[in-house]
Symmetry: C2
Subunit: 693 residues, 2 copies
């Protein structure tokens, strides 16, 4: 520990007004109901749970965060494993629920080497294993008697799962599979928890039966000894090295040299090989797997609001504490202005504040639709099984909704994670120079979040799926075969009014804002359809149009979900009129700011006029910034992210920014070092290094 | 070192086609003259120098880069100091010129703790010191007998230099200054080379003489003992801790408790205190200081092209090596497509490829203008001194051009560093999952570059200076007092044609593209002027408009400079027609892609029609992507960045991407660790942790 500051330093205070005074002032000038809003966002139960778990974690030294940013990777990953172990011990000791264990990980806010074991390995075993396999693998995995990972991506293949090179060849003679890596690029790569931790892996490999390829399937393969933890023979496994973030996780590589595994190690809930006939048995219900991906992506949408909220909370509080320059039009010496008062700061931060709410409500909407549909499909499947009549039609309706949900989740995953990831960087820069310090708490969080833009479908790749779905829907609508879902409806509404034009009243009528977003999506859809079906343009030449289309559609969905939320009885009933009114303004800011940024598409689709855009930009958006500004600090307070989770000097709840930055800086271990700063020895130094050495 | 791969792993090759084959193919399909173009960009002399210095650095183990990303901060900064020392020794040993020393640092591509000593400390002493002070400080500093830094920014003040809190009070009785930090927020902060290295600092402090404040001035203050390197009494100094990047630099803090320094320690070239009368003597020529900042910013513009080029080189080569999915319209099994063939990748990378050239030529243009003006002003000043007549008018013309250059450099610094910084992140993501690995070489470089968006004027703050200048120019033009510089000319041209409209032929005539950018700038300038002068809107309410205006103006300047470069005899004369033709296409891509992205401003200023934008988007830009695509690899090769500098598996010149990633991964030190992966001891493990512990 570096030497403590002398007394004359300890006696120094920051210049007045102090951050604590400024934040008190901020909180006094708004009546936004922080607690009620927090409960609406997270439920009272979840907030209580967070508080309870927080008190447990803070009492344990192993979870200390103070050295996170200075240690090298080998030390960090070892500490992180210790944290993961302790979390697991606490989980058993306190009999934590899934929600409690999840809350603990959220508060820790650092991936541990158990991360992929606790999620993908367990989930895959549970969802794709048979009861026999649950007994053999899942139970031991749940007890941390075996540790696993999910090995899909390879050195040469990420997005294109069908291109994976690892093979699993069925050996009819001894009823085994041979797992093999035929090339270097077949090496599994990026696999979380694999590098140093896992002793088992679910390996996705091309299944070959008698020379025929049946595509990628999941196999459980033991890779390390359960006692020595050394790699088994013909397995080459290790950590893939340092990354832009996620350095507390042992993402790994894995190669096999003709490793044999028994028949039972192919996860067989959906497809399997009949041991007697050596026949491949078809997947039972591919739509269920489809459903899982939809769930995973919807979850990313839901989380993106909270991810962004960390950055916005930090930046908003700090911009209320930081003062810089006097207002240029002020007369006399009025002191420096809070940075948050500058319009150039507001235009960067407040739309992100609106976005975090917008994404949260959109994610909730998605999850609700998903659950409803799952329930409906289960009921229909059961009805069909019991031959109670109307099953098939309901199943079809369910499948239609699921296809819509699938496309929706692809586009929204891309938009939401891009918004959150890029938004965090905007927040970091809005903090000025201090945003660059690790003590801002934004940089490390941003670095750890960025993979979300690539995994579960690269954000650019995903937009093709949205476009494909919209084109298909448009073809159906044109053929008079549109269904009853929202996508069909907006396409039909556009066709019905296309010739007479839109004339939406975006500045006077909020429902018209939603309609304008729908109109733009429909317009771009029929444009893209014309390029593809009439002009016969190549798929590749349309990728940029498809990306624009997907973005437009997803923005429409966010605007629609946000509008429905702020006008719903669930929200307006739970809040006083003032708080509900501020939320409504956030909706308008999100929608109009987005509209303004994408103005050229709104023009060219004739959804709005050039004059409307001018008014939006110069009047409506600027007025909303003025109106929301006084509530900014309370709006981030409502998210109720504990200081311990934020781990930020700039974003401290009490506003005591500068003393905290100073305390952390003076304690940082680089201050233990004493440099010999000279490039020369004493003799050279004395005479000056004029002669060549 | 982790255990080496077994023989069966060593025998593995990547899947065909190998990266080396694909890059050979790329280079074979284009005739772009890599060497000629490289010489045009950098000069043959500079390329030879780079090669020469590279061979020296590569031979020294101290410069090994392989552990850069895994070590903790304390170890990294110590190693970096060792590198800095060795560079200094080599510099003396080989009698390096400034250019050679600079080239060595560029190749090392890592800030060392000597960084701010070697630049800002020496520059400030040289430019702001008197001959007596040069003898006292500069000579020893140049010989590394004393080590210094430039201490301006404080914990509570970055952008607003006038708000600095550190004081320097003149004591007439003993002819000394007292340097003092009255508050905690007065602590110097972010000061490079201060934390552990410097024993001297140039401290910017508010000068007080007999109770009157004369604003910030520079003072040389010794802060550490020259032998023990311990801080002197009443000085509290240290490192500010870990950062998003720049972790090999000891950015520091510094507090003074009434430290006395002699009269000679106030740098006195421009202003000073008369020791006898205790009178403050006014600055001699503020415009010279003005000039230095302009030079620094122009340099950032010039370097931004090269900064971006590193990312574009890596991403372009890797996207030519990486293959993913078959083309959707392809029939039969044609194999996977190079990622670079996808339009969604091209639209992200190729405009950045164009940008790196555009920024480079713009920076060169700026530097040339700056030099010309410096020479002219020096001549005029000399003429004035010798009373040879026309001095004053020439000085006024020079000052007018300098004001233009100053505003231009502010806007371009903001645009160029934002383009480079954000462009690097686009390049990183275009590399897919592997972009996230530190071995991509992009992430660490991006992290180290980001401060450039904040220092030397925050990119958002700077835009106000551009707007202020444009408003002033517009007022002069309206009053019939416009000068002859380019800014006045474009404003005048707009006024002359405003009523009849623009009707630029942006798709047929390249000069018209430049004119359309000028038109948009002029339109936005007069709009902003109306808001401010006629509607009397507050400065704060116009900040967003000003930022848009500055961006528009700077984009115009880049388009103009790039156009002038690609049509200049200097370029066309040095290159064959094909290479020159490809450069010209890069100009068109940069300009039309920018125009398309900013479409709504081009519409609303009536610089172009909606129909023109549609054609630009659907035809012109897409066609340019097709035409430039075959030359992409040669266009990045031309930049001639050595592999050792790139430090990237993905961007290797030979395309041998996957074996290099694999080699680095298997050697990374995390693979030395053996985990005990279980959270329980053996007894619990055997029975399963079902009971509470």
């Amino acid at each position: 520990m570096p030497s403590p500051p002398p007394d004359w330093v300890k006696a120094l205070k920051p210049a007045e007004p102090h951050g604590s005074q400024l934040l008190q002032q901020e909180r006094a000038q708004s009546n936004v109901a922080v607690d009620r809003l927090g409960e609406l966002l997270h439920t009272k139960e979840a907030l209580d749970r967070q508080q309870h778990i927080l008190s447990i974690l803070q009492a344990e030294e192993v979870f200390d965060k103070s050295q996170n940013h200075t240690l090298g990777r080998t030390e960090r990953i070892q500490r992180s494993l210790a944290k993961g172990k302790r979390l697991q011990q606490l989980s058993v000791q306190h009999n934590w629920s899934q929600e409690e264990y999840h809350a603990a990980n959220e508060l820790l806010a650092e991936p541990t080497p158990y991360g992929l074991h606790a999620t993908m390995f367990l989930v895959t075993l549970r969802e794709q294993g048979t009861p026999e396999q649950h007994k053999l693998f899942l139970e031991r995995a749940q007890n941390y008697q075996i540790l696993g990972c999910y090995a899909q991506t390879e050195l040469g293949h990420g997005s294109n799962v069908r291109g994976l090179e690892t093979t699993a060849t069925w050996n009819p003679e001894d009823k085994t599979f041979t797992i093999n890596s035929p090339t270097l690029t077949a090496s599994k790569w990026w696999i979380g928890s694999l590098g140093r931790t896992a002793n088992h892996a679910v390996v996705m490999a091309q299944l070959y039966i008698q020379g025929k390829n049946y595509g990628p399937h999941p196999f459980v393969v033991q890779i390390r000894d359960l006692e020595t933890h050394q790699p088994l023979e013909n397995v080459y496994v290790g950590d893939i090295g340092p990354k832009f973030g996620y350095n507390t996780m042992d993402n790994g590589f894995l190669l096999f040299n003709r490793v044999k595994i028994p028949h039972v190690n192919m996860l067989a809930r959906f497809s399997r090989i009949d041991k007697e006939t050596n026949q491949y048995m078809r997947p039972a219900s591919p739509s269920l797997i489809y459903g899982t991906l939809t769930w995973v992506r919807s979850n990313i949408v839901l989380q993106s609001g909270g991810v962004l909220a960390r950055g916005v909370t930090i930046a908003t509080r700090y911009c209320a504490v930081r003062q810089q320059f006097q207002d240029r039009d002020a007369t006399g010496n009025v002191g420096e202005n809070q940075v948050l008062n500058y319009k150039m700061v507001q235009i960067r931060l407040l739309p992100l504040l609106a976005s975090m709410y917008a994404l949260h409500f959109t994610g909730r909407g998605m999850m609700r639709l998903y659950q409803e549909n799952q329930n409906r499909m289960k009921a229909a499947a059961q009805a069909a099984q019991e031959k109670r009549g109307a099953g098939p039609e309901e199943l079809r309706a369910g499948a239609d909704l699921l296809a819509d949900l699938h496309a929706t989740s692809c586009g929204l995953k891309a938009l939401a994670s891009t918004t959150a990831g890029e938004g965090l960087e905007v927040c970091r820069r809005a903090c000025g120079g201090h945003g660059y310090s690790s003590y801002s708490g934004i940089g490390p969080w941003y670095s750890d979040y960025l993979p979300t833009l690539t995994w579960e479908g690269d954000n650019y790749m995903l937009t093709q799926q949205v476009a494909r779905y919209l084109l298909k829907s448009a073809r159906a609508v044109l053929a008079g075969k549109g269904t009853n879902n929202d996508t069909s409806q907006i396409l039909q509404a556009y066709l019905a009014r296309r010739d007479m034009g839109a004339s939406f009243d975006i500045l006077g009528n909020d429902a018209d804002i939603v309609a304008a977003f729908a109109w733009r999506t429909a317009h771009l859809t029929f444009e893209a359809l014309k390029h593809r079906d009439v002009e016969k343009r190549s798929w590749n030449s349309l990728l940029v149009d498809f990306w624009r289309l997907s973005t437009a559609h997803s923005q429409y969905l966010v605007v629609k979900n946000f509008y429905e939320a702020v006008t719903s009885p669930e929200v307006t009933g739970a809040l006083d009129a003032e708080t509900a009114g501020v939320l409504h303004k956030l909706f308008r800011l999100y929608a109009l700011h987005t509209l303004e940024r994408e103005a050229s598409e709104f023009f060219s689709s004739s959804a709005v006029t050039v004059r409307q855009i001018g008014l939006t930009q110069n009047n409506a958006v600027m007025k909303l910034l003025d109106e929301i500004r006084p509530h900014a600090v309370r709006l981030v307070d409502s998210w109720q992210i504990p200081d311990w989770q934020l781990d930020s000097s700039l974003g401290k709840y009490d506003g005591d920014v500068y003393p905290d930055l100073f305390r952390r800086a003076s304690q940082n271990p680089v201050n233990d070092l004493v440099f010999d700063p000279y490039p020369w020895n004493a003799a050279v130094l004395k005479n000056g290094p004029k002669s060549k050495l």
